[in-house]
């Protein structure tokens, strides 16, 4: 038996098929993964993301510590609540994790890290912070629910009193707010953190509340018509949106430059020293691989670890699936730098035709692949 989130029984009640995910017993789907995917693209869906790690960093040295330990620069976060996506790097540039960090106030940052890496991250953060005035605490007293989709914000906000509702609907993208003590319907919450972020390519909120209140909040959201969605839909949604998944696109053996995340590394200002900086400086000059998207032209389904044959050499698929919004198979792949155009993918011994495209397939319900391309066979 694996670890269970505070919403485990809620999932069973909804008929979830439970699978192991990084040591956690999580819902894969509640009947149909594809219907859950469409619900998020077209209306509103919700995910239990309580398995992810919430880490609070408090103290006068918190900002200074984060500017050292993260590859992206929290110095960019000037407004309260603003969030930033970053990699946590080893000295050699290998990616320990990818995460979002929010600057809640001058001396309080909140970090959301991956489930499978939270113990490793925490040990690393504690070890590296010894000489900084920062207190690091894991918030395993909190649960988190992501509500996602074009109607998600409106529906979720409707649970709250009018003044809070308007605050929530005015929240800018990638900004979080701590509401403190607040009522959600009949449910009194001691704390309620709401961020306008997600992992689906749709608008929405990620809501962290006390673990004990989570099942009742989940029920209320469900009663509003928000569809419970499992890890299966979460994976196809994030892949369509071109988001990396730790353990697939990202791992300790690859640096962010060869993982499609060069944009998250803040080399400026030049005087900021951060862990991995020296290694990445060298890697910039000798970068051999890059991350790209693939659209399968033949019939079939692309999968992780399949070999990609390009005119510039061979690469490998890091994540592949059938994309429900597109109706075709797509993938992300690490290929030799400069590879482009038509390629072949070794799918169980058969060479299938695919096309290298930008790894951003669907955004806010819109398919970003040209209809000419989708019109090509099959």
């Amino acid at each position: 038996m694996g670890l269970k989130t505070p919403l485990y029984d809620s999932h069973l009640k909804l008929g979830a098929k439970i699978v192991d995910f990084g040591g956690w017993d999580m819902p894969l789907h509640y009947g149909s993964q594809i219907e859950e995917h469409h619900a998020v693209r077209r209306g509103a869906g919700m995910f239990d993301v309580s398995h992810m790690g919430i880490v609070d960093l408090h103290g006068a040295g918190a900002a200074q510590f984060l500017r050292f330990v993260l590859a992206n620069d929290v110095g960019k976060l000037r407004t309260p609540g603003k969030g930033l996506y970053s990699c946590l790097l080893r000295d050699d540039g290998g990616v320990l994790d990818d995460l979002i960090v929010y600057r809640m106030d001058e001396e309080w940052f909140r970090m959301i890290v991956n489930a499978g890496t939270r113990a490793k991250d925490l040990a690393w953060l504690r070890q590296k912070s010894a000489s900084y005035a920062v207190r690091i605490s894991e918030r395993d007293d909190l649960a988190m629910i992501a509500v996602q989709g074009p109607q998600a914000r409106e529906l979720a906000a409707s649970l709250f009193p009018a003044d809070v509702r308007s605050r929530l609907l005015e929240l800018a993208p990638f900004v979080a707010v701590e509401l403190g003590n607040v009522f959600a319907g009949q449910l009194e919450l001691q704390s309620c953190f709401v961020a306008r972020t997600g992992y689906t390519g749709e608008d929405g909120f990620e809501i962290a509340i006390g673990a004990g209140a989570a099942p009742r909040l989940w029920e209320q959201l469900h009663a509003l018509g928000i569809v419970a969605a499992g890890l299966g839909a979460r994976d196809t949604l994030r892949l369509e949106a071109g988001y990396s998944l730790y353990g697939h696109e990202l791992d300790e053996n690859h640096d962010p430059l060869s993982s499609g995340l060069a944009w998250t590394v803040a080399f400026e200002p030049a005087e900021r020293d951060f862990i991995g900086r020296k290694a990445l400086g060298k890697a910039l000059m000798i970068q051999k691989d890059e991350m790209t998207g693939l659209l399968l032209l033949d019939r079939g389904v692309l999968r992780a670890q399949q070999r990609v044959l390009t005119s510039a050499g061979s690469g490998e698929i890091t994540s592949g699936t059938f994309a429900p919004t597109i109706g075709r198979s797509i993938a992300m792949a690490r290929v030799p730098r400069g590879a482009s155009g038509r390629v072949q993918v070794d799918v169980r011994g058969k060479l299938l035709a695919a096309l290298i495209i930008k790894p951003l397939f669907v955004h806010h319900g819109q398919v970003l692949i040209s209809t000419e391309l989708l019109g090509e066979n099959p």
């Binding site: 098929k17 894969l28 789907h29 149909s32 993964q33 594809i34 299966g232 196809t236 019939r299 079939g300 389904v301 999968r303 699936t321 059938f322 429900p324 198979s329 169980r348």
Partner: protein, 131 residues
Amino acid sequence: MSDIPNDLRYTRTHEWLRSLPNGQVEVGITHHAQGALGDLVFVDVPQAGRKVSAGEACAVVESVKAASDIYSPVDGIIVAGNQAIAGAPELVNTDPYKAGWLMRIETKANGAAAGLLSADEYAKMLADESH
């Protein structure tokens, strides 16, 4: 729980087999198998004319999650693949024992193929697996 019709026979790898009046057998995957795979999105429909041996992988079904081989339950020659599921793989989820059939095989082993399970035996196997 799982829907297991009495008039079919089953394999340990979750295929079902139906004897047709013309002596051929029709093959598909069980209700349990489609549930375990999840939403199917692609079926590599078996080619008619192909000679197969019992236990040989002769088709592939892919769900959103993973690809899975389908094994021929008997020795014989594939006489038809179900073209309807090439365009609508979800039929295997919604109607695994009828519209979602995968292939028809001409076989001498019709009634007596070794190692096939009755509905009761298959149900027992599933119950054992889940413990």
